[in-house]
C-alpha cells in the first residue's frame, strides 16, 4: 500500500536529506510516499488560543485535500505532524469548529483521515519484525541516542504517540536496525524550538544540555525526527563550541538516514553533506560505509 505524504517546507530546503532518504527507503520496503499535490505550509504552530480558527486553515486545507485522495496521511517532520494531527483531531471532535472551518475553506472534511508519523508507518503498518528482515547492514556497535523532542509526544491526549514520560518506540526502531539505543534523560526535552530566532542563547543552552546529556550517557550519534530540532542541535553546535570550549561536536542524523545505511543504500545518496557535523568519520570508523 502506498501512503499519502505531506513533506512540509523544510523537507524541500534544509532537510532534503530527510525527505530523500525516506522516499528511497520506502521503495525498498515495498511502498511509495505519494506526495500531495499543491501542498502549503502546515502553519508551523498549533494555535494556543482556542478561538483562533484562522491559524487552523492551512492544516485543515491540507487534510481536506488529502482526504480526497486517500485515508492515511504521513509526515516526517515532527512539527508538521504535531500541527496536522492536532488539527485533524479538533475537526473530528468539535462539530461547531468543523462547520466553521469547512465553510471557510469550502470543503466538507469530517476529520476521518488517519495521520501517522513515518515511524508509526514503520511500526504499525510495516512492522518492526518485517523491517528487520530487510536490514542488509545491521548497525552493530553503533551507540545511538534517540532524541524525541517534544512535538511527537505532547500534548499526550492529542498526540497519543507513545508514553509521554518514557517513550520506547524510537528505541525499538534503533534496536531493529541493530544499533544500541542509548538511554538519556533529556530525550524528551525541548530543543529550544523557535527561540533560536528571538533568543538564540536560550536555544543554544537547551541544545547544549541535550547534547551533553547524550554524550555523557555514551552516545556516538544523536538521531532526530525533526528538522527544527536538527537545526538547533546540529547546526547550532558551532555556536555551542564557541561558548563552551571543551564541547566536542557529535553527529546528528535523521532516523531515515540510519535506516538508509541499514538497508544498504549507497552512502552518497544519504545526503550527509547537509548534516552540519560531519558523520562520515564516525560511520567509517564503525564500518558502516
Amino acid at each position: 500500500m502506498d501512503y499519502l505524504y505531506f513533506p512540509g517546507c523544510t523537507l524541500y530546503t534544509k532537510a532534503k536529506n530527510f525527505d530523500q532518504t525516506a522516499r528511497n527507503c520506502s521503495l525498498l520496503l515495498g511502498f511509495e510516499l505519494k506526495e500531495l499535490s499543491n501542498w502549503t505550509c502546515c502553519g508551523a504552530t498549533f494555535p494556543l488560543a482556542t478561538d483562533n480558527l484562522m491559524a487552523l486553515l492551512p492544516p485543515a486545507r491540507i487534510l481536506a485535500n488529502a482526504r480526497e485522495k486517500g485515508t492515511v496521511l504521513t509526515t516526517l517532520c515532527a512539527v508538521c505532524f504535531n500541527v496536522i494531527k492536532r488539527t485533524n483531531r479538533l475537526i473530528q471532535g468539535d462539530g461547531e469548529k468543523r462547520e466553521k472551518i469547512n465553510n471557510f475553506i469550502e470543503k466538507n472534511y469530517q476529520g476521518d483521515l488517519r495521520v501517522l508519523h513515518y515511524l508509526e508507518i514503520l511500526k504499525q503498518e510495516i512492522g518492526f519484525s518485517q523491517l528487520k528482515e530487510k536490514v542488509k547492514k545491521p548497525l552493530t556497535g553503533l551507540r545511538a541516542a534517540p532524541y524525541y523532542g517534544c512535538m511527537l509526544l505532547r500534548p499526550f491526549e492529542e498526540m497519543a504517540f507513545d508514553d509521554k514520560e518514557r517513550p520506547t518506540l524510537f528505541e525499538e526502531f534503533l534496536e531493529t536496525l541493530g544499533a544500541k539505543a542509548v538511554e538519556f534523560p533529556y530525550k524528551i526535552e525541548c530543543c529550544g524550538s523557535f527561540q533560536s530566532v528571538g533568543s538564540p542563547e536560550v536555544a543554544t543552552e537547551c541544545a547544549y544540555k541535550i547534547l551533553g546529556s547524550a554524550i555523557k550517557s555514551g552516545a556516538e550519534v544523536i538521531v532526530s525526527t525533526c528538522p527544527m530540532c536538527t537545526f538547533n542541535i546540529d547546526h547550532k553546535q558551532s555556536d555551542i563550541k564557541q561558548k563552551y570550549l571543551d564541547f566536542k561536536p557529535i553527529p546528528v542524523l535523521y532516523f531515515t538516514q540510519l535506516l538508509g545505511i541499514a538497508m544498504g543504500l549507497d552512502y552518497q545518496t544519504l545526503g550527509f553533506e547537509q548534516n552540519a557535523v560531519d558523520p562520515l568519520p564516525l560511520l567509517k570508523e564503525k564500518g558502516l560505509l
Binding site: 508514553d163 509521554k164 514520560e165 518514557r166 534523560p185
Partner: protein, 437 residues
C-alpha cells in the same frame, strides 16, 4: 431481630486500624461484645507503620501499642485477624456475617508465639510492611509487637510451597503448630450492628511517569520515609537512602503528588500530607543536622490544633526550605537525583541535585472497599470511599440502618479525626442498642 426475635446487641468492626480499634474499645467498654475483623495477620493498621506523629512528635508505636494490647486482651473483644468478610445478610439487630479465615498454615491454637520459626526460616523477601525496603521471612508477623503475636506463612514466598522442600519451620516448632495442609475456613457471626473502618492506601509511586515510574530507588513515598525513620524499621531509625545506605544530605519532599490534580490523578486534597511532610522534614533535620530539606508545595493546609505552629517552627527554627511550585520531572544522574521544579513566588525554575526524594502520594481507598460496600449494601463514591448518608449532620451513618463507617474508609483523615470519627460511630451503635431494651 435474632432467630428468636431478639435484637442482637453485639457489634462487628471491620478493619483493625486505629479507627477500628477505637470503635472496638469504646463498644467493649460500653458493655457490648465486639467481633473485630482484620484482613492482615495482626491489628494496628497504617498507624503501626508510622514513626512519630504530628504535631507533638509522639512515637506512633508507643501511643498505639497500649491500644492494640488492650484490644487483644479485652474480655468483650473477639479478634478475627487474617480474616475477610465474605457475605452479609439480614438487617439491623440481626446481621449474619460470613467470614473467611485465611489459611495461615500455622495452628494458632497451638502456637505460643515464640518466634523460632521466623528466626530459622531461610527465605527472605522484600517486606511489604517496610514498603519493600526491609526483608521479611516467608513465615512472619507484621511487627515484633504484633497482636495477636502469631505468624502466618506466605505461600508465594515459602520454599516448601514453591519447591516442596525445606520444612524448617515445621522441624523447629516446639509445639507442632505448622500445618501446610491448612485450608481457608468459613465462620459465621451474628451481630446487630456493623462499623466499616477499612482504612486507606496510597496511590502507587509507579503511577508517576514524571517522577520515574517508581524505578529510581531513592524516590520513595511517605510511608517508606516513616519506615526509614522508625526505630523498628529497616535502618533502625537512621535516615539512610535505599540504594546504597548513604545518609542523604539533600532531600526533596513533594507535596500533592497525585492529590489536587483532577486532570491526571485524584481531584481531592489528601488532608494529611502538608502536616506529615513538615514532620518528615523536621525529623530529618533532627537526625541529619547538616542536611538540607526542600519542600515543594501548592498551599499549606494546616487546619488543626497546633498544626500551623508546627509548620511555622519548621520554617523558622529548623531551616526547612519551602518552595511554592510543582515538580515537573525527576531523573537519575549518576548517584544524584535531579529534580526540576519551579518556585512560583520568585517565578524561577529550580533545579535541585538531591540524594533522596520523598513523594507525599495521594491517599486512595483500599482496592477492595467498593467490593465490601456492595456486600454491606452501602454506597461508595467514585473513588471507592464509603459514603455517609448526610455530609454535614450524619457523618458516620449509611443508608442502611445498623451499618456505620469510620476513619479513612470514608475519606482522607489524620489520626485525631479518624479516632473522633470512630468514637462517633461507636456511640451511634450504642445509641442503637440502647433503643432496643
Amino acid at each position: 431481630m435474632g432467630d428468636n426475635g431478639v435484637f442482637v446487641k453485639r457489634a462487628m468492626v471491620i478493619g483493625g486500624g486505629i479507627a477500628g480499634i477505637s470503635s472496638s474499645i469504646d463498644l467493649g467498654n460500653g458493655g457490648y461484645e465486639v467481633v473485630l475483623v482484620e484482613k492482615l495477620p495482626s491489628i494496628g493498621g497504617r498507624m503501626l507503620q508510622l514513626s512519630e506523629t504530628f504535631p507533638t512528635l509522639d512515637c506512633a508505636q508507643c501511643t498505639l501499642t497500649p491500644k492494640t494490647v488492650e484490644t487483644g486482651q479485652h474480655p468483650r473483644i473477639k479478634l478475627l485477624t487474617y480474616s475477610e468478610v465474605e457475605q452479609v445478610e439480614g438487617k439491623a439487630g440481626n446481621f449474619l456475617v460470613t467470614i473467611r479465615k485465611k489459611a495461615a498454615y500455622v495452628d494458632w491454637e497451638k502456637c505460643t508465639g515464640c518466634g523460632l520459626c521466623q528466626q530459622k526460616c531461610p527465605t527472605k523477601n522484600p517486606s511489604e510492611f517496610d514498603r519493600g525496603m526491609g526483608l521479611e521471612k516467608a513465615i512472619y508477623t507484621l511487627s515484633p509487637q504484633a497482636v495477636p503475636n502469631k505468624p502466618v506463612i506466605n505461600p508465594s514466598h515459602c520454599r516448601y510451597f514453591k519447591e516442596k522442600k525445606c520444612r524448617v519451620c515445621e522441624k523447629i516448632c516446639p509445639v507442632g503448630a505448622i500445618d501446610y495442609e491448612q485450608q481457608d475456613r468459613f465462620v459465621e457471626e451474628r451481630v446487630g450492628a456493623i462499623i466499616a473502618a477499612v482504612g486507606f492506601d496510597l496511590i502507587p509511586k509507579e503511577s508517576f511517569g514524571e517522577y520515574g515510574y517508581g524505578e529510581v530507588p531513592d524516590v520513595i513515598d511517605g510511608l517508606a520515609f516513616e519506615r526509614l525513620n522508625s526505630a523498628s524499621g529497616p535502618t533502625t531509625g537512621e535516615i539512610r537512602r535505599p540504594s546504597d545506605g548513604k545518609i542523604p544530605k539533600e532531600v526533596v519532599f513533594i507535596q500533592c503528588t497525585g492529590s489536587r490534580d483532577p486532570e491526571r490523578y485524584m481531584p481531592y486534597c489528601s488532608r494529611v500530607c502538608c502536616m506529615y511532610t513538615a514532620k518528615h522534614a523536621r525529623l530529618y533535620k533532627h537526625k541529619v543536622h547538616d542536611g538540607q530539606a526542600y519542600i515543594f508545595y501548592m498551599d499549606i493546609r494546616s487546619t488543626g490544633k497546633g498544626y500551623e505552629e508546627f509548620i511555622q517552627q519548621g520554617m523558622e527554627e529548623e531551616g526547612i526550605l519551602y518552595l511554592r511550585g510543582r515538580v515537573s520531572r525527576i531523573f537519575r544522574d549518576g548517584e544524584k537525583i535531579v529534580v526540576w521544579g519551579v518556585d512560583t513566588l520568585t517565578g524561577r525554575k529550580v533545579e535541585v541535585s538531591a540524594d533522596m526524594v520523598v513523594l507525599a502520594t495521594a491517599i486512595i481507598s483500599q482496592k477492595d472497599t467498593k467490593d465490601l460496600a456492595k456486600k454491606l449494601g452501602i454506597a461508595a463514591d467514585e473513588y471507592g470511599f464509603l459514603t455517609e448518608v448526610q455530609r454535614k449532620l450524619r457523618p458516620v451513618e449509611t443508608e442502611v440502618e445498623g451499618i456505620y463507617i469510620a476513619g479513612c474508609a470514608q475519606g482522607p483523615k489524620d489520626i485525631a479525626d479518624a479516632v473522633a470519627h470512630a468514637n462517633a460511630a461507636a456511640s451511634k451503635v450504642q445509641g442503637l442498642f440502647a433503643k432496643h431494651r
